[in-house]
């Protein structure tokens, strides 16, 4: 009998509801059946004898189906199987038997079937502390864990915290809600465009300057973030020649057949906006810049395609383009080393300094100092003194003048010799004398230092070199004291190759001017034009785009992206954000607002606040609600609060409202009523996520489509796959199997088990959460909760379990069958949870298996536990003590079922490690046997035993799931739903989602009963 009754749902847990509806008719029929029962049953089950604990006589006047349901179930089973009357008694006549069974079926089954799916009475539910935290996280993007300051929730219904009756509200609780809402509101920025944003840091009270700075900062950062993947990095080849070649093809598209710049970009794998920028740059003469002309004029002067081969780029064109590219790049500095070229240093040119320059001259007969006048710039005042002329032979240095004079002397002496090559020597002597003549004098009149050359641009000063010279070095200084110094602007350089024309801009060469002079203004501007067109550094390219909000979308640079270009290149959704940020900027940039602007701003904030309220309250706002929200804002503004502070008042108000704190459902219509789409969305998201509906679910609620079965099923599946479904692991599985909270506190004595560290506790908890999250999100079979041959481990936990081959902090699925792990039976957190601080407890573990896994709890211990025999305390081992304890009949009834299950897990110590010896050093005996029943040993035996009772397990799972989903205890009319879920699970390989889908489409889930 004990086994059979164990499969029945415990009587006491069935609050009765619908059955009483049938009470009257049942009682009428009762009069027909009663005499037979009196005659056949009362002898053993009534009055003096109550065999099997069944006393039918006490129900003689009224069968009391409402409270005696289980008794009658037993009667029906006994009669229909023929167990009763017993063999030694005459059987019931068939007609009588059928009549009785029919009556019982009618009385017991019909009411359940007819009222199947009754929603039951469900008290409105306050958000649990966890739901509060999750909801705030999903509403604001901030996970502040505010509910840790709240009073802890307890459990009700089927053992879950989400039962309305046990979710209380108190003044202190309300005060905590206020404190949490205030704290949260202080993290919010409230802007006209971007709306309410919860920042990572507390914001608090802000002035207009800070508001403006934040809007500006946000835009700046946004532009940089968007442009970042698009712009060439410092180490990238910027492919100037390819862009110029494409532009050349476009220029000659009649010949080349180029279809468009976009096509050319596509063909050449170039960025279309950059190519467009190049085209504009190369084909425009404006703005004027002689530095830029070096590129664009040279490009414009490129020859066209060969008539015979119009589709090819002629080698000469290619060569010249590469030369233009080289010239352009020469400003920037070496690739990968941005900011080292002339372009960056130009701004430091002040004319005060002496600037060194040098040239490699190896194997060259002469060096040319080229003094340019920057492409025809007026050469007034372009006077430069060169000195320190030095030649280097390998490592040896020598003053150029010394060498020149020495060679002159040597040549003159050699000329006096009879066999001298007079022609050659005379040429050298003339060359030296010409060179020497440049030293020591100022062409404007007067003298200079003997070793200095004074010259005016444009000029090329050619100096002979010794054959073994490797390098020529010198310095130059602009004359900034002369009368025309303000007009001065020069470039100089040395080269041993063919000297460039000093009437042109010398590429890559510093322009020297007198700081603050008129020439500086003019040339500096032209230089900047070139610099902006070709920013020398990745960061500068970013910067150019990031200033767009200030410049209104104009830029000259080839890497510049206008707002339109940028928006065409970035991911969806970013455009809307940009529009919102620009809307912020448009208002906050103003120092003073005019009346329409002020109104626009307030209206925008109010719109954001009502949107927030609608989201937080999980429904569309009524007109009254909207008026209340905007009214509070206006009132706060009238108290001269700034817009943000006034908005925060509203946020607080929204978050302490019963509309937020309770999962409200309209309930003023009596009887069973379908819930609304919004209410269904809320039930669904709090069931699967312990959190608020997301945008997709809200959309399905807003347009009512969620009420369509296929949409509901689709949404249910979507939510189950979402990472937020881990809430089901922590809240549903965690509270059902009781590992919830283990992370924060475990009942292990840290003195006895110093290895039980907080990290380990955390890992053990994570194992369970990861396991169930996997089961739920991957839609694994429900039976794997018990039978899985895998678990989730990280390195630390694997070491603790003694399982090799797991490295790193990340949890991952590990096959563990051979290590006595897998599923909940081998989970350290559950083994520890069902231990005492210092020792294991087969009673706790066994009771947990009976209650939480099989759902067949034993009755509670008797009110007054009988005194135990002294022999119990004298027992040497725990097993022995429990065995002696079971000798007492009052104890054995239950402990015969509890203890053996627990013994099977004795191979795990109090903190969940595998062990072979107990504390006294005795060999572990992990075998257990139910009286007159199955025997099993160790985790594998236990697992097989439990698997053989999977009907109990599945029933209990369904029961718990229903209790969690509905937030109430189960009632008899839920039985068909359990049947339904069980059958569907059996048909679909036990997939977790099948149970969930059956539940969400059930009558219970979609309706409510109102009193």
């Amino acid at each position: 009998m004990s086994i059979r009754s164990a499969t029945l749902l415990p009587l006491v847990l069935w609050p009765l509801l619908a059955l009483t509806i049938r009470a009257d008719s049942a009682t009428d029929a009762w009069k027909d059946v009663r005499p037979l029962l009196e005659q056949k049953c009362y002898e053993c089950h009534g009055g003096k004898k109550t065999n099997g604990g069944v006393d039918l006589k006490k129900l003689d006047g009224d069968p009391k189906f409402a409270t005696e349901y289980e008794t009658w179930e037993k009667v029906r089973e006994a009669i229909s199987t023929g167990d009763m009357p017993p063999d030694e008694k005459p059987p019931l006549p068939d007609a009588e038997r059928d009549k009785t069974l029919k009556w019982l079926a009618h009385s017991l089954e019909d009411p359940i079937r007819e009222n199947a799916g009754d929603p039951g009475t469900v008290t409105i539910r306050r958000l649990t502390n966890t739901e509060f935290d999750h909801t705030i996280r999903d509403l604001t993007g901030l996970d502040l864990g505010l509910a840790k300051d709240f009073s802890p929730d307890g459990g009700g219904g089927e053992g879950f915290s989400n039962v309305g009756d046990v979710l209380f509200v108190s003044p202190q609780g309300l005060e905590r809600y206020f404190a949490a809402a205030r704290k949260l509101a202080d993290y919010a920025t409230i802007m006209p465009g971007t709306g309410i944003t919860f920042q990572k840091q507390r914001i608090g009270l802000r002035g207009p300057v800070q508001v403006k700075a934040q809007a500006e900062q946000a835009l700046y950062v946004w532009y940089q973030k968007m442009a970042e993947p698009i712009l060439p990095k410092d180490t990238d080849d910027a492919r100037e020649a390819d862009y110029m070649t494409a532009c050349w093809k476009w220029k000659h598209h009649d010949a080349t057949g180029a279809a468009s710049l976009e096509e050319l970009a596509k063909d050449g794998a170039l960025m279309a906006p950059f190519l467009e920028n190049w085209w504009n740059l190369l084909t425009n003469a404006e703005p004027k810049s002689r530095y830029l002309d070096l590129t664009r004029v040279a490009w414009r002067e490129l020859p066209g395609p060969d008539a015979g081969k119009p589709l090819e780029v002629p080698a000469a064109v290619r060569e010249r383009i590469l030369a233009i590219q080289a010239a352009q790049r020469s400003w920037l500095g070496p690739y990968g080393h941005p900011g080292e070229g002339t372009q960056r240093h130009q701004q430091d040119s002040d004319g005060i300094h002496r600037y060194d320059f040098h040239a490699d001259v190896k194997g060259k007969p002469a060096v040319h100092i080229v003094l340019g006048d920057v492409a025809g710039e007026d050469n007034k005042g372009d006077w430069v003194t060169f000195d320190g002329l030095t030649i280097q032979h390998g490592k040896k240095k020598e003053a150029y003048l010394d060498w020149l004079q020495a060679r002159l002397r040597t040549d003159q002496e050699a000329l006096a010799k009879p066999d001298a090559d007079a022609a050659k020597l005379n040429a050298q002597i003339a060359e030296a004398e010409t060179a020497l003549a440049k030293f020591g004098k100022d062409p404007r009149g007067g003298t200079a230092k003997p070793d200095a050359i004074v010259a005016q641009a444009p000029a090329v000063i050619t100096l002979p070199l010794p054959e073994d010279a490797t390098k020529f070095l010198a310095g130059g200084k602009l004359d900034i004291d002369g009368p025309d110094a303000d007009a001065a602007g020069v470039q100089w350089m040395a080269t041993a190759d063919a000297p460039p024309d000093p009437h042109t801009v010398l590429p890559g060469i510093l322009t020297v001017w007198k700081r603050g002079s008129t020439a500086t203004g003019r040339l500096g501007h032209e230089f900047n034009v070139m610099q902006n067109a070709f920013p020398d550094e990745y960061l500068r390219r970013l910067e150019e785009i990031a200033r767009n909000y200030l410049r209104g979308g104009k830029g000259l640079g080839v890497y510049y992206l206008s707002d339109a270009q940028l928006l065409s290149l970035i991911p969806g959704g970013q455009k809307e954000l940009w529009e919102k940020m620009m809307a912020d900027w448009k208002l906050v940039k103003n120092k003073d607002l005019n009346a329409p602007q002020s109104k626009e701003w307030d209206a925008a904030v109010k719109r954001h606040l009502t949107d927030f309220a609608a989201q937080a309250w999980r429904h569309s706002l009524s007109n009254d609600e909207t008026a209340q929200i905007t009214g509070l804002y206006d009132a706060a503004r009238a108290r001269e609060l700034d817009r943000e502070s006034a908005g925060r008042e509203v946020l607080v108000r929204v978050l302490v409202s019963p509309n937020f704190l309770f999962k409200l459902e309209d309930s003023n219509q009596p009887g069973i009523q379908p819930i609304t789409a919004w209410e269904l969305a809320t039930r669904l998201s709090y069931f699967l996520w312990a959190s608020t509906p997301d945008d997709t679910l809200r959309a399905a609620a807003a347009d009512g489509t969620l009420l369509q079965p296929e949409v509901l099923a689709r949404e249910t599946k979507r939510l189950l796959r979402d990472p937020r479904a881990s809430a089901l692991a922590e809240e549903f599985a965690g509270q059902w199997l009781k590992f919830n909270g283990f992370e924060a506190k475990a009942n292990i004595d840290p003195n006895k088990f110093p290895e039980f560290t907080p990290e380990l506790r955390h890992d053990l908890y994570r194992e369970a959460v990861e396991f169930f999250t996997h089961l739920i999100r991957e839609d694994r079979p429900v039976r794997e909760i018990v039978t899985a041959n895998y678990t989730f481990l990280n390195e630390r936990l694997a070491k603790f379990y003694g399982i090799p081959g797991v490295t790193g902090d990340e949890f991952r699925e590990v096959p563990v069958a051979e290590y006595q792990r897998g599923g909940v039976l081998g989970m350290g957190c559950l083994l520890a949870k069902n231990s005492y601080p210092h020792r294991t407890s087969p009673v706790l573990r066994g009771n947990w298996l009976l209650t939480s896994i099989l759902g067949t709890p034993t009755p509670p211990p008797p009110n007054n536990v009988p005194k135990l025999d002294d022999s119990v305390s004298a027992a040497s081992t725990l097993r022995e003590r429990l065995e002696r304890h079971r000798k007492d009949k009052a104890c054995s009834v239950c402990h015969e079922r509890i203890d053996p299950l627990g013994f099977a897990l004795e191979g795990f110590d109090p903190i969940g490690r595998v062990r072979t010896q107990d504390e006294a050093g005795l060999k572990i005996d992990n075998s257990g046997q139910w009286k007159n029943g199955a025997s099993f040993s160790g985790i594998d035996g236990l697992r097989n035993f439990l698997a053989s009772r999977d009907k109990d397990f599945t029933t209990n799972f369904c029961r718990k799931l229903i209790g969690y989903a509905l937030g109430r205890s189960l009632i008899l009319t839920d039985k068909p739903l359990i049947e339904n879920m069980r059958n569907d699970l059996a048909r679909s390989d036990d997939r977790f989602s099948v149970a969930i889908l059956d539940l969400t489409k059930s009558r219970q889930f979609q309706n409510r009963r109102n009193d």
Binding site: G154, G156, N740, P857, V865
Partner: protein, 450 residues
């Protein structure tokens, strides 16, 4: 067909009136046994009386609990020896019980009614016991202090149901309505802030409170009677917060005016505790005791309850030589070593309580000490924890009740036919200015405390 308590669909205040409890409302104070002027006040100094109830879970070791009246006065048994220096201020009761606790399945939950004496409803959802005596007293004395009462504990409820009961029951001894437990502070910092903050934050919330009040009212029309009852918890909370804001204004004015009796301690004597739960349980318990004593010293409230631990708690003090949690040890099965450990834990609880009482005794409030002005009850929901036996309960009362209680005695009611614990509650309520002719299952106050 869920049958609800007839009174639980109305608000708490209406409930109290509806139940017909003769609350000593201000205009009725002349009916109090202790005279109009003296209601809830002790003696000429005007120092108020205070009431505290301390509770521990899982019962006691029956072999060493209790006291006898010897020739030289009270003789304490082993468990109570930490109270030796205070024994003249103690009444040790024998035989008091709550008769409703011996029915109902299970060894623990049905017994969690120590302060109301009413039946613990067997349910996992719509919990119900009864409004407890401390909360009824708080109704009467609350208008004099910033907080009507402080409800302290060290552990929250767990998520479980058992034998058809929710574990909520094991976590609360104070209920402010038959269906809702009084919220319990388990974090020292929050208990401290509750009591000693200046209320400025609350003032800011006033305008928002008005609005959410409207919210809740308009929602009532959308809800069934059943749900309105739950919403009313919220509404009551809103109203109480509003009243507290008003009260805190009054108190700050009264303080500056220097009118009336003034507590001798004016500012906290120890710093604001750190956030979270102290690592060691005894540290936690000591801190909560300190907060309770300070609340009385500063007259922030006159009513406190403190659950040193929940019933069914497996708190592990890590005491020398003690291996195991208290629930586990309470089921010692008469094993001598386990009994010894259980005994140590019992004495440890008494030691912590004694320390708090000594602080109260050392606080001078004019003609009497704080302890002499107070009534501090210590009890559990079981006597013999091992046997789940509640046929009598361990009950010790410390303090002089403002000159109304004569300590140093053991009062034995075990032979008395009417030995209901609620009779003691009635006697205490009377002294606190909340006289009633009927409370719980009793209608006659104990008369021999004085």
């Amino acid at each position: 067909m869920i049958i609800r308590h007839p009174n639980d669909t109305i608000s708490r205040r209406r409930f109290l009136r509806g139940l017909g409890i003769a609350m000593s409302l201000p205009w009725l104070e002349s009916l109090n046994s202790w005279g109009a002027a003296a209601a809830g006040v002790s003696g000429e100094s005007g120092a108020p009386r205070r009431l505290a109830v301390c509770f521990m879970g899982n019962g006691v070791n029956p072999n060493h609990w209790g006291a006898t009246n010897g020739p030289g006065g009270l003789e304490l048994m082993k468990s109570l020896t930490p109270l030796e220096s205070l024994k003249d201020k103690l009444l040790v009761f024998e035989g008091l019980w709550n008769p409703t606790t011996v029915t109902g399945p299970g060894g623990h939950y049905p017994k969690m009614n120590v302060l109301s004496g009413l039946t613990v409803k067997q349910t996992t959802t719509d919990v119900q016991v009864g409004t407890t005596m401390d909360q009824l007293v708080a109704e009467a004395t609350g208008k004099h202090t910033p907080l009507p009462s402080i409800v302290l504990g060290t552990e929250g409820p767990s998520y479980s149901t058992d034998s058809g009961y929710t574990s909520i029951y094991s976590a609360y001894i104070s209920w402010n309505s038959p269906t809702s437990p009084a919220p319990k502070e388990i974090y020292p910092q929050q208990a401290f802030d509750q009591l000693f903050d200046d209320g400025s934050q609350r003032k800011r919330d006033k305008s928002v409170l008005d609005l959410v009040n409207e919210d809740a009212k308009s929602l009532r029309t959308r809800l069934s009677q059943h749900d309105v009852h739950k919403l009313d918890e919220y509404l009551t909370s809103v109203r109480e917060l509003e009243q507290r804001i008003e009260l805190s204004d009054q108190f700050s004015k009264a303080n500056t005016a220097g009118l009336g009796w003034q507590p001798t301690v004016q500012a906290p004597t120890f710093p604001r505790p750190a956030a979270g739960i102290p690592a060691r349980p005894d540290e936690h318990l000591r801190l909560m005791f300190e907060i309770m004593v300070l609340a009385f010293q500063m007259d922030r409230t006159r009513v406190a309850t403190f659950m040193l631990n929940n019933d069914l708690s497996n708190m592990n003090f890590g005491l020398e030589g003690v291996k195991g949690g208290i629930h586990e040890l309470s089921h010692h099965a008469n094993d001598p070593s386990r009994l010894d450990q259980y005994q140590r834990v019992n004495e440890h609880h008494m030691q912590l309580w004694a320390e708090a009482l000594q602080k109260m005794a050392a606080t001078n409030e004019g003609e009497r000490s704080l302890l002499d002005n107070s009534m501090v009850l210590f009890t559990s929901s079981l006597f013999d924890g091992n046997a789940h036996d509640s046929r009598q309960l361990p009950v010790v009362l410390a303090g002089g009740g403002g000159g109304t209680i004569r300590g140093g005695r053991m009062l034995d009611y075990s032979k008395d036919e009417n030995r209901k614990l609620c009779r003691l509650h009635m006697a205490l309520m009377d002294r606190m200015g909340a006289k009633t002719t009927h409370f719980g299952d009793a209608d006659l106050a104990l008369s021999d405390l004085g």
